[in-house]
Amino acid sequence: MGFYWRAIYKDGSQLSQIEKNEKGETVKENLYPDIDRSRLTEFHLIYSARDIPIVKIHLRPGQKLIARRRTWNDWHGNSTVVWLIGWHQTIKVGWWKKRNIQMLAFVFPDGHIEIVDRFYKDHPVFDPLEKMRPEEL
């Protein structure tokens, strides 16, 4: 299964990774940094073959979007892609203490989804990523 992302803004407008014409042909590709995070309210992962969302992330104030295509590429030429989409946030847990919380959805090639509450170091799939600057809290 192939996927692409779509960002939904507060005013209902959207930015899609893949923009298509009436014939379904790709006419433009947008990049992840093109997303205006100041207006972002939802982030969808779209099943390419049918152009339907299979995962929707609803973002509340303070929650920062994280998204990646995690790819396994072996020397035989086989490639496997798992999409990671989710958010992380810093919350207050006491008068002066803060804690980072996360919600991460991993979307596998067969379409099944696994949701975890944090990255797990040295896990074959849920290993931490390196955050990009717009993703930093």
């Binding site: 990049l31 992840y32 396994w72 072996d74 020397w75």
Partner: protein
């Protein structure tokens, strides 16, 4: 819609200037052969011999991941690992512990494979100035990966031609090994892209 990447290894030329940057997807299968010579030919020439009382080695290979095209923002968080399966008694593939400089501007980490064709390659810790120690490749599995560094600007791959730093890999054969072509193993690069 996404980056296209491929496994490469360099050979020939001179230190710091490889003669050939070989895309393994253009070879085989199999796509890489460790032999007692410095080339990319997939054949039965220059095998690593089994000699009583001696240790023989393949010529080392400088392996890396390289972007060959596509539309994407960046690739980072690159890891390497194997299927964890050895080739049996007396046969080991070793990976140098260092990641060596390899980027679009410099291949300073590259040193030409050396040895005696048909006999043995020079041992990598002894002969490669960039390698101070080595590890059996089977140590690295999906749950215990090897970090692969990037020396392109920003420590990311964000353009066609960008590549990771080298890892150096060499096959070693003791006199307890059995002869014959070895079964294919699965080695993997894992990376994050957006």
């Amino acid at each position: 819609m996404a980056a296209t990447v491929a496994w490469f290894f360099d050979f020939g030329g001179s230190d710091g200037t490889p003669g050939t940057q070989q895309d393994v997807s253009a070879l085989g299968p199999p796509r890489m052969r460790f032999k007692t010579n410095d080339d990319a030919t997939i054949d039965n020439v220059d095998p690593v011999p089994i000699i009583s009382g001696q240790t023989k080695r393949s010529y080392w290979k400088h392996v890396y991941l390289r972007v060959t095209g596509g539309t994407f923002t960046q690739i980072d968080n690159v890891k390497f690992y194997t299927d964890g399966t050895s080739w049996g008694t007396g046969i080991s593939a070793y990976i140098g512990d260092e990641n060596l400089t390899n980027n679009q501007g410099s291949q300073a980490g590259y040193e030409v494979g050396d040895g005696t064709p048909g006999d043995t390659g020079v041992e990598m810790v002894t002969g490669h100035t960039g390698i101070t120690a080595r590890t059996d490749t089977t140590t690295y599995t999906s749950g215990a990966v090897r970090d692969i560094t990037i020396s392109e600007p920003g420590a990311i791959l964000d353009a066609s031609g960008d590549r990771t730093n080298y890892v150096v890999i060499q096959l070693e054969v003791l006199d307890t090994a059995s002869p014959g072509n070895l079964d294919d193993r699965t080695w993997t690069f894992r990376y994050d892209e957006i």
